[in-house]
């Protein structure tokens, strides 16, 4: 069932993102990936029952290395802290995911919270994406330092984001709280501006 009542908070920015993107193999593209299923999990990773129960539902064990994520099938699990993870899944997948996780984890000291509305996602991709990120983030964005499989909670511009290194194109996916989304889009479009002129 398609949810016709929902609106992305930056739906009105879609055309600006299309216009602001630069085509070609030296280009850069910005787009929103709205309405992804997002579920926050708190739990004790030392507890084997917890780890196996989550794995049973999402298909993969929660990552324990700081600032990493793992992907299996439809689901990506981000390490957010020693006892906190975020599962990202397909649009409209959140209800099923929450139910299955709560069932599987019943009786354990955990928290399974649907946070699908808590952040939206932006994909910045293309040859100039790395330069745009270098203008926007104080962390090392070079290919050898920030690789697919890594994700950090940092700032892009002045917006707090969960920043995922998605692939080598490179594509950076930013999970941003909706209240900051328009600011972040404006910031990134501004940083992309010069690549129309190069």
């Amino acid at each position: 069932m398609v949810d016709t009542f929902r609106n992305s908070i930056i739906a009105h920015k879609e055309q600006a993102m299309i216009n602001g993107s630069v085509s070609g193999d030296q280009g850069v593209n910005l787009s929103e990936i709205p309405f992804l299923a997002q579920v926050n999990i708190r739990g004790n990773v030392e507890d084997k029952k917890f780890v196996s129960a989550v794995k049973k539902v999402v298909g993969v064990a929660v990552p324990t290395d700081p600032n990493t994520y793992v992907t299996k099938g439809d689901f990506t699990v981000f390490w957010l802290g020693p006892d906190e993870w975020q599962v990202v899944g397909p649009v409209d997948g959140q209800d099923d995911l929450v139910t299955k996780l709560r069932d599987a984890l019943d009786g354990l000291h955990v928290a399974v919270i649907d946070v699908s509305g808590n952040r939206t996602a932006l994909d910045l991709t293309g040859a100039q994406a790395r330069n745009v990120m270098k203008k926007s983030c104080r962390l090392d964005m070079d290919a050898q330092s920030f690789t697919p499989g890594q994700a950090v909670q940092t700032r892009v511009g002045k917006a707090p984001v969960l920043l995922q290194m998605l692939d080598d194109k490179p594509t950076y996916r930013m999970f941003v709280r909706p209240s900051f989304a328009e600011y972040l889009v404006d910031w990134l479009l501004d940083a992309m501006g010069e690549y129309h002129h190069l």
């Binding site: 009542f5 699908s116 808590n118 330069n131 090392d140 511009g157 209240s179 328009e182 129309h196 190069l198």
Partner: protein, 1006 residues
């Protein structure tokens, strides 16, 4: 060719590419590759400015970033830039520039009368003159000083250009692309490590661009070209030209100012940032920043036509611009002899070299003698002639200790003096990195000694002035630095072979005598050109007790101009040390601070200054609707909240009157999404709330809500909100808008450090939910239409409970809580459904004349009910009892944060400031928030102030003004009249209960 001093010899200019430019209103031509300074030299223009205090004519002194005199205003209009160095401006077609600090013109400057009065501009002049009376500091003295001290002029218009920042990480950062830096970058780059090489000049090559050196039997430029080509072929190497490393901070953090488009001319590259600040974090740093030639301090050493020797060499060799027709060279070392040879080869007449050393027998001096140049040993220039251009010198033998002239004077005609007092390694960045310097007695300069960071210094910056050392040290450092980051084996390839001519020792000679003692006649020995500080000033400072080099610097302002004393600092401290009869190392140097050269404010600000990019604007999911429907906005932290919704012709008072009436009589709707929300779950969740709130939580039924206060350990209220029990072990907490992040941190801190045994997880869900508050007597009817399947009767859905259900077709949590005193529901839906629900409410509510309202109306309504706002009624020094809310503190439940502090003497005492209501004697008068309160109308001075107004509004519902205030002993003074003071106005006010409206709470059920 109109450029009369242009030769055919310059290697780095393209004479066929003629560029037109204007300087001080006159048109000139230059060549591609010129700087503004070299083009002026090629046209024979040396007079480029007036000195700072005495407005003496000044000429181009250097060919680099250390220039103190050729400070100009570039362009006009909004893109105009003040105080830039002509020696660093690349010439472009149509360039327009003018001198600063002269009026009406550089040739005829009225303030030059100051030079007649220059005896009064002595060291400490400002301290001595502009002291008393104090009342004149701001009114008379500052305006005078500002006018006198004016350099360039800032444009008044908004800067049309943009500036940006870039963050980079690398294994090896090399600063300076002369022979040492190029070698280092090559070796480090060959290992595959990420290498950055930056240089302030438009071309790499450093000193090799200016000199005629030989590497591997060929002109050095060939080696430079090969090196650049190899570096450009490496993907792991980033090359930055026109990029000045201006700051070196902790953790090998280096900031670089890159001038990206200046050389194309103003506005020529739309879309590109004009300048860029690079933030580099390097694992290893190689400093190859070279050295600056040091001027000699002699009588009237500031006339136009007097130039550093290496600058003359650069103009002739690099730019093909002769500094003059006939020049003398004045030196205390061998390096200036190569200048003499090059200038003679370039076609200039160099009749004489005046050398302060008694014995001059090095290879270079002998080569100069073979060119027919006369060498005067043990001699100095004791006077210079001319005014707007030097016309000659007087030379004589001088005593070895610098005290006096020993021989008879002889006059030599010349239009140029090229002077060399030795070399100062450019240790600025090294010093900024907290590296320790050492004074080298043989080389007569400060050199790097002990590094404080992962850093290596090479070449001239290390005091290794010969080319072979620069190549060898650079290569070794580049390889070693890379190895330390895990790249390569640390072995450099064999360096190319430079042709090195051995130089004989330099002689320290700090002030050259003239025919009167320094400071006692007309002749001036300038040390700091830009700030007009003379040797006499420094001597006076020493006599007046400024024995610390830091005191001398501030008293005389040596080294405090925009050139940061690149030429003057060592001469200045050497003169101080000789006055104090102390060794130079004992006097020490002043502190080097960023920036190395001035950096534009725009560049430092980057994109963070531009409207919405300056600071994030946080928007709720309904923000767009508010905007479209004419809301005015109020910033609450980073949030933009709807403030009120004026209809056509309404001011704020009218809009708020309409909105408040709707809430009391009809139905209103508020976007309350910014409230903080925290999901709390775990088997100890209720116990945890019992510990962090002052009231009891264990027995709160599932489905119910409760209002709570959180205290800090000192017993003072720090946040409040309603928390609802979602399940046996599951709660939904709300916090204030501003407190959301702080409360979550606070809860986490206590869970992690004090109560790790509690099984509780707290998760921020502030933005998961959009929150709409629907209030007023007709709210229930609207809710019933929005959610036909839910029962909103008082029996089924009483006050302070919550229900889950579908509202307007989307899942929702509905909370029956009230911040207005009237019937009210807060509906939480997923963020992406917020806009849909709002629109649906407006649509279904139209028949009830549903009224959107903003934060102002919310504040008025809650004040009518006496509800506090944390941060408005409180400032971190109020207990719940002070706020008249003793009822919220559980007496029997046991411990909670802050409880212990209730027994502190200060917390338990009488006469604390307490929250009360105030009404004014004249009910129409609205008090000013923040107004101070006194018990009496007339008070002694200082007045015994007993509190202040925290909130004050006109209440349209009540028809009179209302206010809340913190008043000493307020709770015992109900009914008493006291006085509010606002900038001289006194208002009589009565202390009343802060609950002005519906004190029995009869309206909350609708």
């Amino acid at each position: 060719m109109t450029e009369k001093f242009r030769t055919t010899q310059g290697t780095r200019v393209d004479r066929s590419n003629v560029i037109n430019f204007t300087f001080n209103g006159k048109n000139y031509t230059g060549a591609k590759g010129d700087t503004l300074a070299s083009a002026l030299v090629a046209n024979g223009v040396h007079l480029v400015g007036r000195s700072f205090k005495t407005h003496r004519p000044r000429g181009i002194l250097t060919a680099g970033s250390e220039e103190p005199n050729a400070i100009i205003q570039l362009e006009t209009g909004p893109r105009s830039e003040p105080n830039v160095r002509a020696t660093q401006i690349e010439l472009y077609e149509g360039l327009t520039a003018k001198s600063v600090n002269c009026w009406p013109s550089v040739n005829f400057d009225l303030a030059a009368v100051n030079s007649v009065a220059s005896r009064i501009f002595v060291a400490g002049f400002y301290y001595k003159t502009f002291m008393d009376p104090k009342s004149m500091w701001m009114t008379v003295y500052e305006p005078i000083i500002r006018r006198m001290a004016g350099l360039g002029v800032l444009p008044r218009e908004k800067d049309p250009d943009t500036y940006d920042h870039m963050n980079e990480f690398c294994e090896v950062m090399v600063v300076g692309a002369g022979p040492a830096g190029l070698s280092a970058a090559l070796e480090a780059g060959r290992t595959g490590a990420r290498v950055v090489l930056c240089d302030e000049q438009p071309e790499f090559g450093g000193s090799l661009l200016n000199t005629k050196q030989i590497i591997d039997g060929k002109p050095a430029q060939e080696w430079v070209d090969t090196a650049i080509a190899e570096l450009e072929s490496m993907d792991n190497v980033r090359l930055l030209k026109r990029a000045n490393a201006f700051g070196y901070y902790d953790h090998n953090y280096i900031t670089v100012h890159e001038r990206r488009t200046d050389h194309f001319g103003p506005g020529a590259k739309p879309g590109l940032s004009k300048h860029r600040i690079w933030h580099f974090r390097a694992k290893q740093v190689v400093l190859a920043t070279g050295s600056h030639e040091r001027p000699l301090v002699f009588a009237d050493n500031d006339r136009p036509g007097i130039m550093l020797a290496n600058a003359g060499q650069a103009y002739a060799n690099r730019y093909g611009a002769l500094p003059g027709r006939r020049g003398v060279i004045f030196t205390n070392n061998d390096s200036a002899y190569s200048v003499a040879i090059d200038l003679v080869d370039a076609g200039m007449d160099i009749p004489t070299i005046i050398d302060l050393r008694e014995i001059v027998d090095g290879d270079l001096p002998n080569a100069a003698r073979q060119k027919g140049i006369e060498v005067l040993t043990g001699s100095g220039i004791v006077a210079t002639l001319g005014r707007k251009r030097v016309t000659g010198v007087e030379v004589a033998t001088v005593s070895s200790d610098g005290s006096k002239i020993t021989g008879s004077k002889r006059k030599i005609d010349c239009d140029t003096i090229l002077t060399s007092g030795g070399w100062n390694p450019a240790v600025h960045l090294f010093s900024q990195s907290i590296g320790k310097l050492r004074y080298d007695e043989e080389k007569i300069c400060f050199v790097p000694n002990i590094s404080s960071q992962n850093e290596r210094t090479v070449g001239a910056c290390k005091g290794s002035f010969d080319l072979q050392s620069a190549l060898d040290e650079g290569a070794a450092a580049g390889a070693a630095a890379a190895m330390d980051t895990g790249f390569g084996k640390g072995k450099a390839k064999a360096s190319p072979k430079a042709l090195v001519v051995e130089e004989k020792a330099i002689k320290a000679y700090w002030v050259v005598p003239t025919d009167h003692p320094v400071g006692q006649g007309k002749r001036k020995h300038y040390v700091d050109y830009q700030h007009d500080v003379t040797a006499a000033d420094i001597m006076l400072a020493a006599r007046e007790g400024m024995h610390s080099v830091e005191h001398m610097k501030r008293y005389t302002t040596t080294g405090m101009a925009t050139d940061q004393g690149k030429l003057s600092n060592v001469n200045g401290l050497a003169i101080l040390s000789s006055q104090l009869e102390k060794d130079i190392p004992k006097v020490g140097t002043t502190t080097f601070r960023p920036p190395y050269t001035p950096v534009n404010f725009g560049a430092l600000a980057g994109r963070g200054i531009n409207g919405d990019l300056a600071d994030p604007v946080r928007r709720t999911s309904m923000y767009g609707w508010h905007l479209e429907n004419g809301a005015t906005f109020e910033p609450v932290g980073q949030w933009q909240r709807a403030w009120y919704y004026p209809k056509a012709g309404e001011d704020m008072d009218a809009a708020v009157a309409r909105e408040t009436a709707a809430l009391r009589d009809g139905v209103g709707i508020l976007d309350a999404s910014t409230l903080g929300k925290i999901d709390i779950q775990g088997k100890d969740a209720a116990q945890f709330l019992n510990l962090v709130y002052t009231n009891a939580w264990l027995k709160l039924p599932v489905g119910s809500c409760r209002y709570g206060f959180m205290l800090k350990e000192d017993g003072m209220v720090f946040d409040d909100g309603v928390t609802s029990r979602l399940g046996e072990n599951h709660f939904h907490m709300t916090t204030t808008t501003g407190g959301a992040a702080g409360v979550l941190d606070w809860l986490e801190e206590y869970l992690q450090t004090e109560w790790p045994d509690l099984e509780v997880y707290c998760t921020s869900v502030t933005e998961e939910w959009s929150t709409l508050s629907i209030g007023g007597p007709k709210a229930r009817q609207l809710l019933e239409e929005l959610a036909p399947e839910m029962d909103f009767s008082n029996e089924a859905f009483p006050f302070m409970t919550w229900r889950e259900g579908e509202v307007a077709g989307v899942p929702a949590r509905v909370f029956r809580i009230s911040f207005t005193g009237d019937l009210s529901y807060e509906i939480n839906v997923r963020n992406w459904h917020g806009l849909h629900l709002w629109k649906k409410c407006m649509e279904l509510g139209e028949k009830y004349d549903i009224t959107p309202y903003g934060t102002e109306t919310m504040h008025v309504l809650r004040a009518e009910k006496g509800f506090v706002i944390i941060g408005q009624e409180t400032d971190g020094t109020q207990t719940p009892q002070d706020l008249g809310m003793d009822w919220i503190v559980a007496k029997k439940k046991g411990d909670f944060i802050g409880r212990r502090s209730f027994t502190r003497e200060d917390t338990a005492r009488e006469n604390r400031k307490q929250l009360v209501g105030l009404v004014t004697e004249n009910p129409k008068e609205v008090l000013e928030e923040g107004a101070q309160l006194t018990y009496e109308r007339v008070n002694p001075t200082p007045a015994p102030m007993v509190g202040h107004v925290t909130s004050s509004y006109w209440s349209p519902n009540l028809g009179h003004s209302i206010a809340m205030a913190l008043v000493k002993d307020g709770h015992n003074r109900m009914g008493q009249w006291i006085y509010a003071h606002d900038r001289g106005k006194v208002t009589k006010v009565k202390i009343v209960s802060p609950v002005f409206y519906d004190p029995k709470g009869e309206r909350r059920d609708g």
